[in-house]
Symmetry: C2
Subunit: 387 residues, 2 copies
């Protein structure tokens, strides 16, 4: 186990009707806020009205900035920064999924930052200041409700990049599984894949002696695998959504990567894909992750064999770890397919001509990997496998 | 799953040599502190010197209050409160195990409290103020390094009582598994039993649909069960200590009880025992917990059967949950014995004549239970079973 520092102070307010508590919680921090959200779904579902009513009841004044798109755009972040500066707003409430929360965080770090906020994402600058952000989560997926991460796309340069700082962990997040009932089905599948990827990126490590977090990763993966299919049958299964939503939080609040070397290369490769093609992050991961697994598992087949036994319940070929590893990868692919997720880049219209660009960007703006250190050539091969 | 609020903001600084970071971390909060510790062990081990040197290097002035005993005493808490008030100290650093940390927390809530701090523990008063507390942990056991709990004994009235407030969660805790190498062997066993009890008290619930936290409780229990025996063979096995220390933290940082009704009755019964007899809390739990299990398992044999399968790997009698439950309880007893823990109240010199007092106090100052609601008569029967 490696040395580590764990600090994950986001307060999680979880359960039925909790969105009604929004105003009372916000009021502890601010009397005037930016209310940040996406498109029409929060208005159609009635969540916007519930949150607005709760804010008014608590005496919280709010300015609005809607219009966040999936793969949130830098241009809107600039707009939000300007708005907060102009109106002297010192608190941001994000109502939505990971894109809305990431956009809110990017605004939060930008307001007091003297330079161009994009430099933070490009790794050219650092800041130790951020406005407090809180969230009302509508899509269990990105884990942004408790992480210090934000991923934004620069539409002009087509670069999708992330910035991570502890100052960006939300002060509180409201998670009500009932809010998921109105999601499109594919959003559930995308979200499930995203949170499983967050677990994979921690689980597949070369760090030895990580028993507790191994078991927690396995437990969260199994919980997701057990509950997502229940939603396919009954999309208003509260308990299944509760398990999924809790798992999405725990997959990315930091705990499960403690003491182990994480590997974010597959995420970085996906970001390079979704920066060019407007594919949902989770759908992109359903394609990239199994390809990455197939490309790297031979580096340490035993952790994949453990994955096969402890997550997929396979135990017939324990003395042949490579065989077991491949079976587990197959089961993972089948599971993604069963949720209706795409399996191939070709299915979603990605052109091979863009592979070189993707390999370069995945390498440059993301991670080069630890489970297996990846060159641009390796990323090209993974993209080929995923085609 | 029940609605819940999770807030566990303690920063965990974990790993080799981390005690050397104490001064630098304290300095972010205060320049003058109370250094609180127990008997001679921190001096003998060199930890006191290392922490003192680190504080001096960081320019932190410290007053000292040593002498905390196991089952920490109210009289020393009063002394600490007086000292902090007189010297205008606003930060407490606890160097030691759960007793030292609990004592520090009791002082921390007492300093700004106008009345008698003991009234907080008796449930007669509440406070929303506490000095910040930080810890350098020497015994993985109580989980006090991240909890908001403190348990103190009033020597005069023989009442042992707890106070729980979010204001008492330490701001940071330093956990170096190497610091455990010099512990007496029975302290390891006591600690292991205490943290397993913290998991049991969350795991054995009547709340349905708690899959993720079920799996996490099971994962932590298995990790402890796998690693404690390694320490019996090699007391300087860093990786085994790391798993135990991480598990002790996670068993009581709050996460694993989220969304489920916890049941602290066995803890309360043990407190009534150790208030009268100076038995270590963990040793008392090794006696009380299996007796409680035997007394209550019929209320819901299936959760005990799940415990048998998922924690102890027993699967031969799944269609007979009561049989399986009893086997799991037996395995639990055997495990405690294998660590050298006592199994019977008679072994540790407890007199039956005191059962009535214990039953009354366990009932009055603790919890009456949820898995099975306990009367004083029930507690008497559990004590009989444990004799």
């Amino acid at each position: 186990m490696n040395n580590f520092e764990f600090y994950s102070p986001t307060r999680i307010i979880f359960g039925r009707d909790t969105q009604k508590l929004t105003g009372a919680w916000v009021k502890k921090y601010a009397s005037k806020i930016l209310l940040h959200y996406g498109g029409g779904s929060v208005k159609k579902s009635g969540l916007y009205d519930a949150v607005a009513a709760s804010l008014k009841e608590a005496g919280v004044e709010f300015m609005e900035l809607g219009g966040v798109s999936p793969n949130p755009k830098l241009s809107l972040v600039y707009k939000g920064i300007e708005l907060c500066r102009r109106e002297n707003i010192r608190f941001i409430l994000a109502v939505g999924g990971g894109s809305v929360i990431d956009s809110a965080k990017a605004i939060a770090v930008g307001v007091d930052f003297k330079g161009d906020v994009w430099d933070l994402f490009l790794g050219k600058a650092q800041t130790d200041k951020a406005l407090p952000v809180a969230t009302v989560l509508t899509i269990p997926a990105a884990g942004s409700e408790a992480s210090g991460n934000s991923v934004v796309t620069n539409e002009e340069t087509k670069v999708k990049a992330g910035y991570r700082t502890m100052y960006n962990r939300p002060v509180f997040s409201i998670l009500n599984p009932e809010l998921c009932y109105t999601l499109p089905k594919e959003q559930m599948a995308n979200g499930v894949c995203d949170m499983m990827a967050h677990l994979f990126e921690r689980y597949f490590t070369r760090t030895p002696n990580t028993e507790l977090t191994d078991k927690f990763c396995e437990g969260a993966l199994k919980t997701i695998i057990n509950n997502a299919p229940k939603l396919l049958k009954d999309f208003k299964n509260y308990d299944a959504w509760a398990e999924i939503m809790f798992s999405g939080y725990i997959a990315h609040n930091g705990l499960l990567g403690m003491g182990r070397q994480e590997d974010w290369a597959p995420h970085a490769i996906e970001h390079a894909v979704s920066a060019l093609y407007d594919v949902a992050h989770g759908a992109g991961l359903a394609i990239i992750f199994p390809a990455w697994m197939r490309y790297v598992y031979k580096e340490d087949p035993l952790i994949f064999a453990q994955f096969a036994v402890n997550v997929w319940g396979l135990s017939d070929a324990v003395r042949n770890p490579e065989e077991l590893a491949l079976k587990a990868i197959e089961r993972t692919e089948q599971f993604f397919k069963s949720l209706g997720l795409p399996a191939r880049l070709s299915e979603i219209g990605v052109k091979k001509a863009d592979f070189a660009f993707m390999a370069e960007h995945g390498h440059k703006y993301g991670s080069q990997g630890f489970f297996k250190k990846l060159t641009q050539g390796d990323i090209l091969k993974i993209l080929e496998l995923a085609y």
